[in-house]
Symmetry: C2
Subunit: 495 residues, 2 copies
């Protein structure tokens, strides 16, 4: 880790830059429990804003929240054949329910008499426990659709972890819906893909490709997995959310049937969809720079920070009073503003600190500004500074500026993606592109087989991120096998 | 369980009434995992409102949220001597991190090669993992106070569980604060007791006694435990929230020191405080009746339900249009309103259903009401019905009525508590009071010893709920030992 407040630069070492940033901007840190992170207050405040926005979007589309058990009986995982292969392997297994004092007085040990009859798995995802519950909730078409979301922690025993991107425990939401028909379930899975896409672009300011996964990349137990894919600054893709059409797989595994209007028994159709604290990783890697975090105003815990500048005590009172007045004006206008009046830190230190923490706008005001009726306004995204007249409409000016920053950082990320999206016709071109410092998104023809997909990944580490929704149809030949292809698909190296 | 929508009455069987109500009002149900419940959407919507209100109260008192790991290394629990006795015993122990396919193809089994080096305990409470983290966060007095809250799930392996009141997994918040001085920590513990007390009375409409626990009833690791105690309709007490002054116990156990202003090293002072989904149980048992739930308007997912009444199709359109108009007016005024226009259910069924679910106000409107410009307004709490003029100020009328209901149900509960609080001078009186159908709160002199406290509990099942804050000092003799006593303390049978 680079020293002090300095970050390792992206050019020096991108993964190290990421780790530095996560730690120094007070977003998260590794805990003493292997693979589990601590989400620090500043990072959690950003996650809370994501939660609030998403939760409202879920409610606006007719969903309600509920809560299901943390533990899943081991046998439940085996009930859906594909699912068990995908999720039953690396997970936290609870085998006992009691500790006891060690006979030698050295601490506590597991009480061998307290072994569970059936082991419990800490949920890696909740399809099984939820569908075993839905069996009792669904009898008739009148009970459908069932549109439920859960905010929860889940655990997948990852060997190589990275804060936010891949941790053993993470926080997420998982929607689990039940429908009378295939059409309705597919429509729901697509609707939630749309919600995720809109959220990514409007709130996170991350442009995303909406698409469908190949069979190989599908969720374990799904018939179709929809996804949103963002492009990070190092030219790698990051899957930022998925929505699954589960067909009747879980209904059959857990025997969930409903009586239709004409009183026939049918299995229920299902979807599930989720996003997680991984979005924090996407947010960081899309916008941030070598000076630290760049936050979209929509998520910034502080949208504006005001730094008073003074030397003498008589200056201090006047400057602080004016800063407090500005803060109050902005607060009244609904802007999240922080007046940094900490006496123990110098302005230069504060500038660096709030830059590191990605506050979109910094206002500085000193005695001369006060005399001249001016403020210095700095934009975090462009690193520009401007001296402005301090007027009665400072709140409107800041609101407009915040909106502009939100738009600009989205546009910047979109331009980056466009500049780093290529289309190749041969495997040599494909491999050459992947060797570049920023490999980016690569559109290429593929013959549609899992075999080719696996070989390409084994040879290049690139995977098919998705088949974009509304993808242009175009005759061509697979870059690997030379077999005919009807469309280009989206390849990239990925997180 | 009583059949259909009917509940077992409180007089018939109070615990059965409670279980019936929790299930039939769609609050929660037992899951297939022993001791774990499913919180259903209607119950969760109430919990969400509790969370939102509390979260704002925590933020208004300077706290921020963060998130710490679900798992605690076994050895952490042994670091604080009292804490390990209180919490290390009945808990979920993770011993392995992988399942594998059973060699006989029968499903999945625990992979014996995937044994953890050190077992992990699913957090029963987070003092240990949090204080091991705080060690790195606190160096100087400038880092204090540290005022952090966490919303999380916790697991305590309870043998006898009851929905909301005592479950193996439950949802809660836990505040963990660090302070430079004992005074500040005590002040914080008392402040949060105040927050809980205000929340209970103003939002839950539950009158509570604020007090201090005896040494025996203290949290494991605390020097003082403050609590709020409510009285349920069966005359038993329910502890609805606790706030602990932890002294320097956890700072010493995890070596958390800070440099004072004059550069001395001191151990940090701590508090922790929490409320849980148990509050749902307190809410139900304080206000509800034999017809179902009674919700305070502050927490009701639907504050007003509108039931249209019609027979013929031409009636239907007109009645529905007027109901929709009323709903829109109320919604605009910020009232949470539900227009129940479900065609497949009759008005009588809907009346019973919304009564069961505790909606504070029901408005019914039929063709005759429409012609006469009237609505029928029913109050859930008093079970009164009134025909009112439907005026342009129906929103103001309903807002005032909701405020009145909030006040009235609090007053009703307070009157119940006053009527069921007694003061006794002898052990015979004490035992006689406990034999009554509603034993209630009992004030009695106690000699201050754990020995007496334990004997009284063993003989009567009553415990000392607390020594009320600002308790009147009064010379007397202990009802059990006859030894001198300076004050009466609060006894009750308790959940």
């Amino acid at each position: 880790m680079a020293k002090g407040n300095k970050l390792t630069t992206r050019a020096e070492n991108y993964p190290e830059w990421y780790n530095d940033l996560v730690k120094k901007a007070d977003l998260a840190e590794n805990s003493e429990v292997r693979g589990c992170m601590v989400i620090k207050p500043y990072g959690y405040a950003i996650w809370e804003r994501m939660q609030q926005t998403l939760d409202q979007m879920f409610k606006d589309t007719g969903h309600v929240n509920a809560y299901f058990p943390l533990f899943i009986p081991k046998s439940f995982l085996s009930k859906e054949a594909d699912h068990v292969d995908g999720f039953a392997k690396e997970c936290a297994v609870v085998t006992h329910h009691r500790l006891m004092n060690a006979p030698d007085g050295s601490g506590v040990v597991v009480d061998p008499d307290a072994k569970l009859e059936e082991e419990l798995v800490v949920r890696p995802t909740s399809e099984t426990i939820i569908w075993s519950t839905y069996r009792n909730w669904i009898q008739s078409y009148r009970d459908l659709p069932l549109l439920i979301n859960q905010w929860a922690n889940v655990v997948r025993w990852e060997l190589r972890t990275r804060m936010f991107l891949r941790t053993a425990e993470f926080l997420w939401q998982e929607g689990h819906t039940a429908h009378a028909t295939q059409e309705e379930a597919v429509e729901e899975a697509e609707r939630m893909l749309g919600v995720y896409g809109d959220f990514a672009e409007e709130t996170l300011a991350i442009p995303v490709i909406r698409g469908v996964k190949t069979e190989r990349e599908r969720f374990a137990g799904a018939l179709d997995t929809y996804c949103i894919e963002g492009l990070m600054q190092d030219g790698k893709a990051l899957q930022a959310g998925t929505s699954h059409f589960l067909g009747q797989n879980f209904a059959k595994a857990f025997d969930v049937k409903y009586a239709t209007k004409d009183n026939k028994e049918e299995y229920v159709w299902a979807t599930s969809w989720g996003v997680s604290t991984r979005l924090m990783g996407a947010l960081i890697m899309t916008h941030s720079d070598d000076e630290g975090l760049v936050l979209p105003p929509s998520l910034a815990p502080h949208q504006v920070v005001i730094v008073p500048i003074y030397r003498k005590d008589d200056e201090k009172d006047k400057v602080l009073a004016k800063c407090a007045e500005i803060a109050q004006t902005l607060k009244t206008a609904g802007i999240r503003v922080k007046l940094d009046d900490d006496d123990t830190k110098k302005p230069g230190w504060k500038f660096a600190e709030w830059e590191l923490k990605g506050v979109p706008i910094r206002i500085a005001l000193g005695p001369r500004d006060l005399a001249n009726g001016k403020i210095e306004v700095a934009r975090r995204d462009l690193k520009t500074k401007e001296v402005m007249d301090l007027t009665d409409t400072v709140d409107e000016t800041m609101t407009a500026l915040l909106a502009d920053i939100q738009t600009q950082i989205y546009q910047k990320a979109k331009t980056f993606r466009e500049e780093n999206t290529t289309s190749v016709d041969t495997y040599d071109e494909f491999k050459a592109q992947l060797e570049k410092p920023i490999p980016g998104f690569i559109y290429a023809h593929w013959d549609g087989t899992t075999e080719t997909e696996e070989k390409i990944q084994a040879e290049t580490k690139a995977t098919i991120r998705c088949i974009p929704i509304g993808n242009e149809q175009e005759e061509g030949v697979c870059i690997y096998s030379g077999k005919p292809s009807k469309q280009r698909v989206l390849f990239a190296k990925a997180y």
